[in-house]
Subunit: 429 residues, 2 copies
Amino acid sequence: MIHIDCSDIKKRLSDSEFQKAWSKAEDSFLKIQKGTGDGSEWLGWRKILADPNDAMLEQLDSLATRIRAEADVFIVCGIGGSYLGARAVIEALTSFFDSESGPEIIFCGHHLSGQYLKELVEYLEKSNKEGETKSVYLNVISKSGTTLETALSFRVLRQWMVNQFPEDVNDRIICTTSPEGGALNELVKANGYSKFEIPEDVGGRFSVLTPVGLLPVAVAGIDIRTLFYEAVSAFEKLEDNPDSLLEYAACKFALHEKGISMDIITSFEPQLNFLMKWLQQLLGESEGKEGKGMFPAVAGYSTDLHSIGQFVQDGPRNMMETFIQVRKTNERVTVPGSDENHDGLDYLFGKRFDEINTKAFEGTLRAHREGEVPTVVVLLDELNAQHVGEFLYFYELMTAVYCYCLEVNPFNQPGVEGYKKEMYNLLGK
Amino acid sequence: MIHIDCSDIKKRLSDSEFQKAWSKAEDSFLKIQKGTGDGSEWLGWRKILADPNDAMLEQLDSLATRIRAEADVFIVCGIGGSYLGARAVIEALTSFFDSESGPEIIFCGHHLSGQYLKELVEYLEKSNKEGETKSVYLNVISKSGTTLETALSFRVLRQWMVNQFPEDVNDRIICTTSPEGGALNELVKANGYSKFEIPEDVGGRFSVLTPVGLLPVAVAGIDIRTLFYEAVSAFEKLEDNPDSLLEYAACKFALHEKGISMDIITSFEPQLNFLMKWLQQLLGESEGKEGKGMFPAVAGYSTDLHSIGQFVQDGPRNMMETFIQVRKTNERVTVPGSDENHDGLDYLFGKRFDEINTKAFEGTLRAHREGEVPTVVVLLDELNAQHVGEFLYFYELMTAVYCYCLEVNPFNQPGVEGYKKEMYNLLGK
């Protein structure tokens, strides 16, 4: 279960400020349910949950099982929504250090560094732990197939795969792309690559629960049925009882109207660093238009308390803070004793690290609230596929509701064309 | 050489706005030179360059050489300024994938995740590539030795080292700490650990060019003499001719006075992601006080153009943007052909990735400028120890000058005590 605590923000709002925002949030949610808001042709992220495609989940699972058995390395080639969702879920739910089971997962196609590609190929050409040639699978993810970063990396890696695996290269390349049209469908037809579809009515930043996110997540050994069906449950639950979500969206909207211009998204769990990056895209690309929006900044605490903590405590009072916390962890690492008590920390002897981490969170929450930073706390009971599945859909819906409160279309990204146009001109397209 | 281009910001300022800010920046620089500003007891980061300690560099080099020959893993245990500087330089100047030469460098002590520590120990206990027990060295970095995250991780790892290497554990632990006092000096005395000093008058975020940063950097195989002496050259050059630096500080200050509340620090080189995190701490912890400061946000382009690009282009006009670019790269990876031209990118055939990346930068710069985002471009001729050394000192000095313009003490961090006090209360200290 996800628990949302907006009480601190509510305290900072007058009744009428909150009520006004709440009605706006209610109206916004109705727009989504009825499909009457701007951009409502992009509500596919709800449809996939209303009508789950079990055959597709089965197909993803079975391919993932084969890849987990056969591959040393699984390369995910994508950018933006075709990168962040998969990486967010994988980092949240797998170990920090390489596990022994299943392939190593490497991301590429998310920038234009030739140096990175060069080193990646060199790495792939080194033998595996058994001294054999590495077995590599490549998943390219792009609706159009022409996104510059992804398409260029795919050109390089595909050529390398053709040379490296002449006999079965076509079995090793998987395209996640539009149902029809686009550059990758041509290659699928010509070469017989495996293909998974991104529904036309699902935008990149809302695509984590399509094969865009689900295939890499399954290859990482995460139970995608649990992840997906918990999102389905969250969908059903929130249709009937959206109050906690509407309250959250209303609070965020009311703060925006009071001039709060930045939302610092943070967590004391380093495994959630990329889940916050996923959220940064989801929020930022949805709300940042027509001169509106709160900049979603990401900070990993307690690491970044030693970096931007001073600013949050004492800088301009133009920010809110979102804490994403995990209530219960499985680890039982405790503070060892020390003969000398050289560091004066013996009073923590035998305490669990997760208890201490929770106290650091609680202390920070108190201090920042006293420092006049409005805060919301999002609490996951545990860090597992179940709660992450719920989290993903919760934030997709909250983002859409909040954006309709701001009276912006949550689903387009007209500003992204700006740099692309200039770049393609310079490249002589 | 670092080149600073503030022309876009200057265009957006009136002559009198700029002149006023420029005089303020001149005065600020004098305060630093004369040591008359607030916090001027913390100017050690200049003294170490005015009077280089060659014996210390020699000692660092010789220990690093031994560790490079003997260690499989070198653990750096630190947080904040005792973490970011070393990691920033190492990531900027070494390869993306593990190199064959020298030990793997692993950071810890920068958060409170027990899970991370548990997995780290498990990883250390696995045999190395030759099937032997891993040879591990541990560098703990803390002035006081009592910083919670670092001290607790050090307790766990030190105990593990004592068990794992009973015969020579004392040779494997290196403390970087205060000249005298503090918890680590007691351990050094009792056990004969190697020790390097952090000068008392150098604060954490200004400590990268002390052993705090230099030992890990040397162990990574980077030439610390070049790094250090280029900072020395920058110091000398800027004492006589600080104009480009003063112009930069003046521009940033003038924008702050006009209500710009966020500086998005970005680069198209993924190797610089941690250098930007270093800069985030340097700026944010120095300027974010008394309700002042521009929040330093970090974005890695072009990755994050597909995430926050929309917001930067079309969100509220309250931000400036700092591009850290590299003019010349060594990589020569080119776009391969494609029989089918399936992605329509054949017009880029034979082009180098770094050329394309540069066009992406130039296109973004144009689009964001047109979108009314004031921009500064910081150009490094090449990515090497020379230019990074210059970069480090340039930003230390620029930060100090800019903070004096804001009339805040660049060297303290009173707000950081807020959460610590609350946390230690909750922990029952």
